[in-house]
Symmetry: C2
C-alpha cells in the first residue's frame, strides 16, 4: 500500500509536469495553432514572441518551442536561478526567488519592452507559473524595488487580507494587474498558466499580469486608511497612489477593457488536474476513490484531524465509501509555527494524521509537495501507516512531542519515512493521499 501511495503521487505529478501540461492545451496542426478551444491561423501572424516568468518557465518554454519551433521570433522568460532547460529560441534570464533582485528587474524590463514591441499582426505567448510574481518585479515609475517590498511587508504585518495585499501590489507595478496585457496590446496575447494558487483565480496567479483587475487606486488608499498605514508605507508609494486617484497615473485595465479583446488565458495545469490524475491511477490499482477537494486550506494539523476522521469512518461504516478506498485532496494548508523543529506542512500533516489514527490497521497516509519540496527541508513530504506510531514508540520517539515542536522532519527521518523526490520542475501545491483497506 505504501508503494501504491507513491505510485498514485507520481501519477498526479506527471499529469502537471509543465511540458506535458503545455502540450495538452497547445499544439500545432499544419498552419493552425490549437489552444484549448480556440484555433489560431499562424499564417496571419508576422511575429510570435514568447514571454513569461515562473519556476516552471524553462520547461514550459521548451514545450512551446517544440510546438512552434522556427515560428518563434524571439523570446524572454524570467526563471529562478538554476531552473533551466535546453531552449534555443527563447532566452532564459535567471533571477531571484522568493526575494526579487536586480536581475529579475532587468529581465522584467526587457520582457515588458518585448511585449510593447508586438503589433496587431503579432502573437505574444506568455507562460506563467508559480513564483511568477517575485520573478517579474517591475515597480511603477518613480518607485524602487525596496519601496515595493517595504509596502508588501507592512501590509502583511498589519493583518491585511491577501486580496488587499494584491490590490496594492497591482497598483505599484508596471506588469501586474493586467499591465503586461496593456503593453502587449494590440497584439494577440495567449497566456498559458500553471496554477499554484488555491481556486486557480487568474487575477491572483503571479498577480494577474495578463488579466483584468477590478481593484482601484481608491481601494488602495482605503486599505491604507483601514489599517492606519499612512505613516508606515513609503512616501513614494503614497504619492504614486495619490497620483493614480487624481488620474495622473492611469488605472489598471478593468474587466471589459479593449486591451483584452485579443487575449486568451488557459490554465494548463492545476492542483485539481493533479488530484484527478492521481484518482485515475488509484482506480487502476483497484481502489474506490473520492476526490475530497483541491481547495483544502486551514491549519495543517487540524486538516489532518478531519482526514483521520474520514479514514476512521471508512473503516467503521463504509462511509463515504467502502474499502479498499483512496481519498485524495489538494490545496495548500498553513502551519502556525510554535516549536523549534524542522518540517513542512506535508510532513506535519502526515505526523498529525498518524497521531489521529492511533495505529488503526489498514491505513496509509502520504502527503507531499508537487514541486518536490516541503518547507525548508530536502524532503517533499512523508508517508505513514498503522505501524508508524508503534515503530516510533519502539525508538522512544514521542509523536506528540515532535508535532508540538513542529519537528516532523526529524521524526520521519529517524523512521526512514520521508518522501524524497528531488525537484519535479512543476508546482501545483500539495497532494494528499489516504489509502484505507
Amino acid at each position: 500500500m505504501r508503494k501504491d501511495a507513491l505510485d498514485i503521487f507520481w501519477a498526479g505529478v506527471q499529469a502537471v509536469e509543465p511540458e506535458a501540461a503545455v502540450r495538452r492545451y497547445c499544439r500545432q496542426e499544419g498552419n493552425r495553432l490549437l489552444v484549448h478551444q480556440s484555433v489560431y491561423d499562424l499564417t496571419e501572424f508576422e511575429h510570435i514572441y514568447v514571454i513569461g516568468a515562473g519556476k516552471a518557465g524553462a520547461t514550459m518554454a521548451k514545450a512551446v518551442q517544440e510546438t512552434l519551433g522556427e515560428r518563434i521570433t524571439e523570446g524572454l522568460i524570467n526563471v529562478k536561478y538554476g531552473h533551466l532547460a535546453e531552449v534555443s529560441r527563447v532566452r532564459l534570464i535567471e533571477a531571484g526567488h522568493p526575494v526579487p533582485d536586480e536581475a529579475g528587474l532587468e529581465g522584467a524590463r526587457a520582457i515588458l519592452d518585448l511585449a510593447s514591441k508586438a503589433e496587431k499582426g503579432d502573437m505574444v505567448l506568455c507562460v506563467i507559473s508559480g513564483g511568477g510574481s517575485a520573478l517579474l518585479p517591475l515597480p511603477a515609475e518613480g518607485l524602487s524595488l525596496q519601496d515595493k517590498q517595504d509596502t508588501t511587508r507592512v501590509l502583511l504585518a498589519c493583518g491585511a487580507t491577501i486580496h488587499e495585499v494584491n490590490s496594492v501590489r497591482k497598483h505599484i507595478s508596471r506588469v501586474k494587474g493586467g499591465r503586461l496585457a496593456q503593453a502587449a496590446y494590440p497584439a494577440t496575447l495567449i497566456s498559458l498558466i500553471l496554477s499554484d494558487v488555491v481556486g486557480d483565480d487568474l487575477d491572483v496567479i503571479a498577480s494577474g499580469p495578463t488579466v483584468s483587475d477590478s481593484s482601484t487606486f481608491q481601494d488602495c488608499m482605503k486599505i491604507f486608511n483601514k489599517y492606519g498605514l499612512f505613516e508606515k508605507v513609503p512616501k513614494a508609494v503614497l504619492n504614486h497612489i495619490q497620483k493614480g486617484i487624481e488620474g495622473v497615473v492611469p488605472e489598471t485595465p478593468k474587466p471589459g477593457d479593449p486591451v483584452f479583446v485579443r487575449t486568451k488565458s488557459v490554465i494548463v495545469g492545476s492542483n485539481l488536474e493533479c488530484v484527478v490524475a492521481a484518482e485515475i491511477k488509484a482506480r487502476s490499482l483497484g481502489y474506490r476513490t473520492l476526490v475530497l477537494s483541491s481547495m483544502i486550506e486551514g491549519e495543517t494539523r487540524e486538516v489532518a484531524c478531519v482526514h483521520a476522521g474520514i479514514a476512521k469512518e471508512i473503516l467503521k461504516s463504509g462511509h463515504p465509501l467502502s474499502p479498499p478506498a483512496c481519498v485524495l485532496s489538494g490545496g495548500e494548508t498553513v502551519v502556525t509555527i510554535t516549536g523549534q523543529g524542522l518540517g513542512g506542512r506535508n510532513q506535519e500533516f502526515v505526523l498529525a494524521a498518524a497521531i489521529g489514527l492511533n495505529s488503526q490497521e489498514g491505513i496509509v497516509v502520504l502527503s507531499a509537495g508537487t514541486d518536490g519540496t516541503d518547507g525548508p527541508t530536502d524532503a517533499a513530504g512523508a508517508v505513514a501507516d498503522s505501524q508508524t506510531i508503534q515503530r516510533a514508540q519502539a525508538l522512544r520517539l514521542s509523536p506528540v512531542d515532535y508535532l508540538l515542536n513542529n519537528d516532523a522532519y526529524h521524526f520521519f527521518e529517524k523512521l526512514g519515512d520521508l518522501v524524497k523526490t528531488g525537484p519535479t520542475n512543476t508546482n501545483v501545491m500539495d497532494l494528499r493521499i489516504m489509502l484505507v483497506a
Copy 2:
C-alpha cells in the same frame, strides 16, 4: 434551501430520539424480547430490573416501560434535574450534571444495590446516555466525591490524554469500568446505549459501567508517575491505587471475565445513525449526498475551513459530487477560546464556514447540536448562506471580528440566523449540513 437544511437536521434528530431509538432495537413479541440480534425468552426471567443513568434516561425508561410494562419488577435511573418523563414502574432520581452531587451519589448507591440484588434467573436492563458518567458518581470505598473530582481536575490540567483520565477514573469508582456489570452478575445484563462520544467506544461512553476494562491499577500508577502527580493527587486516591496493585482491592473486570457471559450491549442511537437518517431525508429532497464522517474532531474554525473547501470544489468541478449536493458530517469539534464573546462550536463552525465561502452563491451551511444546545447559549446552532456576509456588512458587522472574539451568538442573533430548537431530549453530538446547488 434553508428550509431543506432544517428539515434534514430534524430528520437526523428524530432518528436518534431516545424512545424511537430504544424501540428500534428492543421490542417484545409475545413472550420474547428481541434486542438487536438476540432473542430472550421472558418466561425464563423471574424479575426484570431497569437501571441506568444519563440525560436521556427518562425518555429511554419510558420506551422500555412501554415495551415491557408490567413485566418490570422495579427500576431506578439517575437523570439530570428537570429531565423527566411519565413513567410509573421506574423511579427517576434527579441529580447534578455536569457537576455530580449528593443526590447522584445516593442514587448511584441505590442503583448498585438494585443490580446486586439481581440473581441468575433475573434480567437487568440498563439504559445509558450522555452525561451518564457525572450522573452515576460512586467513588470506591474510602474515597469521597471530592477526591474523585480533584483527581480528574489534576489529570486534565497536566495534559493527560482522555484515555489516561478514563483509566484512572475507572479505578477509583464503584460503578465505572465494568463494576456495575460485576454487581449485576450472575443476572442477564442488557445495556441499551445512546452514544455521545466520537467512535462509540463502549468502554468510553459513561466510562463503561457494563463492559470490560483493559486498563489496570498499575497503569494508573504509571500515569501518575509520567506526569509527576504523586504530590498533587489526593493521598486517599494514591493509597487506593496502591492497594489495587497489591491485590487488596480487586481489579476492574477484564475482557473475557466470566461476569460478561450473560451481558449484551447495544448502541441504540449514535451520531452515525443521525447522519445517515439526515442523508436519507436529503436524498428524498432531491440532493446527491455524501456522508463525510461521523467522527470529525479538531479545532472548529479549521474544520469549517475544510468543509468550505469541499463546497467550493463541488461548485467548481463537481467533485466529490455534483450539485445539487448535500454533504453531511458529525462528531464533536473543539473551540480554543481566545475571545470574550458568546457562542458554541456549532455557531462558530457556521460563522467560520461563511467567511471561508466568501459569499459564494448557492451554498447553505447549518450546524447544530442534536441535544438542542450549543455552548452556554439558548441556541442549538446557526445557519448561513451566500447572503450572510453581505447582510452582515450592511449591518456594519465584521464577521472576522466576531469570529476572533468567539462571539458567533451575537453575530447570528443580529442576523436572525440562530437555530433554536429547545431541548430535544437526545444527544449524539453535532450534525453539520452543507447544501450546494
